[in-house]
Symmetry: C2
Subunit: 151 residues, 2 copies
Amino acid sequence: MLKLSKKVEYGILATQYIATKNGETVSAKEIAERMELSFDFLSKTLQALMKNGIISSQQGIHGGYKLSKSPDQISLTDIIHSLEERITIVNCLSPGDESCDKMDNCTLRNPFHVIQLKIDDLFTEMTIQHLLPNNDKLYSLDLSIKGTPNG
Amino acid sequence: MLKLSKKVEYGILATQYIATKNGETVSAKEIAERMELSFDFLSKTLQALMKNGIISSQQGIHGGYKLSKSPDQISLTDIIHSLEERITIVNCLSPGDESCDKMDNCTLRNPFHVIQLKIDDLFTEMTIQHLLPNNDKLYSLDLSIKGTPNG
DNA sequence: TTCAAATAGGATAACAATAGTCTTATTTTA
DNA sequence: TAAAATAAGACTATTGTTATCCTATTTGAA
Ligand code: FES
Ligand code: FES
C-alpha cells in the first residue's frame, strides 16, 4: 500500500544516473549494468520518459539518452506522471472517476483530497538536482527531514 | 501506485460511522448495509481494528463495536498501522529491510526517507474527528487545502 | 553494402498483492 | 435451545506489477 512502482524507481534512478553524466549520451545498457536493473524493463521506462520530454533519445549504433532539461527542472512528479496513470490515493480523486456518485455514504473525498494535494507537493518540490551525489540542498528543502535516515 | 487499500478505506469509513453513533454499539451488519460494503471483508477489517485497540467488540446477540478512544484521538495512521504491514513508499524504508545493502548504486534512500516522513505526518495529523459531518476543523488543519475538492 | 549496436514497441508470461467469499466455531442473550 | 452476533482460518478470484521475448527500425562504421 502506498508504494512506488519499480517503474518509477527505475525512472528516477536512471534519470539521476544520466544527470551525473552531464550532457553525455548514455545507453540503456550502461545504465542497466551500472544500476543492476533489468535491461528490458528499464528500456520501457526510458522510452516513456522520452515520450514525455524528460529525456531525449539518439537511435543507432552510438545512440543513447540524455536529459532534455537541467536536473533542477525535472521534478519527481514529472517522472511519475510520465510513467504512471493512476497516482491518487483513492480512485475517486482521479479526473473522470465516477465512483463517488455511486457511494452516497462516503464522505472521505474532501479529506483525502487535502492529503492528496500535499503528497503531490512533496514529489513536485523534489527534483533530480536534489538527488545528485554530495548534494547539500536536500536538507534545505521545504520538506525538511526530522530524523537521520540511515539509522 | 501510491493507492490506499480497500481495507484501509473500509477501516476509515467504518470507524467514522461508529463515531457518529457516539458510544452506541454498532453491528458489522449495520455498517455494511449503510455503507454498502462487503460484510465479510468489513468484518475482517473490524476485527483487525479491534485487535489494535482502535475499537472494542461485544460478542453475542446484541453485540457489535464501539470506539475505544474519542474520535480526535484516532489518527488515520492508527488505522493504517492496524490494517497494513508494508506502508513505505519503497521497501528499503521498512524496518529490517536489507535491499539497500544489495543495491550499492542506489542513492535514493535519504531523499525517499525525507518524503516518507512527511507522508506519515499527513496521515498522523488527520483524525476521525476531522472526518465527521459538518466539520469545520478540516480546513484549519496544518495541511490546509489549496483548491476546492469537489470541482 | 553489410554488419553491429543501439532504440522502439507490441505481445505475453510469471509473479505478487489485493479483494472477496465461504465455512465453521464461539459468544451472548432471550 | 435458538437466534444473532463476533472470531478466524482457508480458499478463490481478480487485478496489478514486474519481467521477458520477439521483431522492427535506426544509425554509423568497417
Ligand atoms: S468514493 Fe469518493 S470519497 Fe469515497
Ligand atoms: S535500495 Fe535502498 S534506497 Fe534504493
